[in-house]
Symmetry: C2
Subunit: 275 residues, 2 copies
């Protein structure tokens, strides 16, 4: 159902059987032993897109995913259910599962509302925030595996260039500001699309690294809004937290395209890593 041109497209290359989809995710998309949440979100988005395209609603407008347990590299199944099919939007649900030694385990439960971004578009754009200010990609830092004691092959899968002002954590001198930003594109010349945006909203290192909290930050839930098809070229991603409190933090993300359009907004609730 999908033309496979690069590694990301391989994750999206799902085999459909009615409302069930079978896929395979390479362990190279992992952080430690756990597959990155954005990659799973993209696969789920793609599956629901296939189901709701049947109803004229191919584009995810809002996707909410609850992460129930770490997914590992290998085969997965996505069960889908259409919750409501309307005139301008439709809502559906997905359950991503994997077989384990102790039976099938649900990894992600997601709900999403889809529509047609081009049909919804009334031409009005009133964006009151500005794209992140970043040095050119060549003056940014290629993301390399800097998480102490954890193998992060994921960072090799994307062309991610972090703002040098945000990488002090990798040198033991975190900035003290809960922010992270950088440039993002696929490695093999593939242009960004809506599935890339679902990946991009969870592709940066946790913002808590800049607060001096190392250790990966497991996501409880992530909601992404996709607002426009991205223009070709680099994406810019900015992530920040306003509220680290009570053993939890929220991480906000904005994704801007090469035409300076805010193409995605997302927020997740996560638990700070253990130092």
């Amino acid at each position: 159902m999908w033309q496979v041109t690069d590694e990301f497209d391989r994750v999206l290359d799902l085999r459909r059987d009615g409302t069930t989809f079978i896929g395979d995710v390479d362990p190279g998309w992992s952080i430690g032993f756990a597959v990155n949440g954005g990659v799973l979100l993209a696969a789920i988005g793609r599956a629901l897109g296939a189901v709701l395209d049947d109803r004229g609603h191919p584009d995810p407008l809002v996707v909410s995913a609850f992460y129930l347990g770490a997914a590992t590299g290998g085969p997965f199944t996505i069960l889908t259910e259409t919750v409501r099919s309307g005139r301008t939007v439709s809502t559906a649900q997905a359950s991503l599962r994997q077989q384990t030694g102790s039976g099938e385990q649900e990894r992600v439960r997601a709900t999403a509302t889809y529509g047609d971004l081009n049909t919804l578009d009334d031409g009005q754009v009133r964006t009151t925030v500005a794209p992140p200010r970043l040095p050119p990609p060549d003056e940014c830092v290629r993301s390399v595996n800097q998480v102490p004691g954890v193998d992060v092959p994921f960072v090799e899968r994307l062309d991610l260039r972090l703002d040098p002002a945000c990488v002090g954590w990798a040198l033991g001198t975190p900035s003290g500001r809960g922010e992270m930003q950088g440039w993002l594109r696929h490695r093999e010349g593939r242009e960004p699309d809506l599935w890339t945006l679902l990946l991009a909203v969870d592709a940066l290192p946790p913002v808590t690294f800049n607060l001096g909290v190392t250790g990966w930050a497991p996501t409880l839930e992530l909601t992404a809004h996709l607002r426009a098809h991205p223009a070709p070229g680099w994406l810019r991603v900015r992530a920040w937290t306003d509220n680290v409190a009570g053993g939890l933090f929220e991480e906000n993300a904005e994704v801007w395209d090469s035409a300076d359009r805010l193409v995605a907004q997302a927020r997740q609730l996560a638990r700070p890593g253990r130092a």
Copy 2:
């Protein structure tokens, strides 16, 4: 299962039968013919809280609700399903339904992760945003029904005092800034709790009113993070949008308690009203 002391508690007074809950919402909680989304969210939160309290996880940490169609005043049923029960958090789902002339209709599909806010709390609070600056409640504007052509009994159900800087829309002179803020408390002396926060995140008039777009703004999805039990007294609620584009807008909300703590954060995706 609940001591009924005021009108809000009547909405939360659900009759439980296993995993199913039956309730009744007074038409006084409506905007036009549709019951306010925050009231439905509170009822759903209460039902899931009863289910997950059985597992030691009474407090909603994150709730995502997809609004499928307008609910009307009257009886409703909430079906629940526990998705995953873990050591520190559990995830469950809810479907709010109503009987209509043409059969049972699903109004809201919600998913939530619950835990124990007191157990999760590690004492760390690092909030980098500030509470809204508001004139005292007595110098703010009691919210009255100002939506042209629409009956909004909902505004009489709460003691809501809007910042005078945000009510130009009611006088035909919208501020041009997509912001809305004010004080909020229950009418009858009931102190705020986590269910109040679920109501509060969707209790202000749409921020688009201040952009000169009248007409109600239907919510597609709303995600709320509850971060602490609120202190007694007034709540302050601030809502704003950063991105009105492509026929959709996001509305962000913060709820602060009387102890200056950011107790809830929320974001919804909505469609601007038709002028």
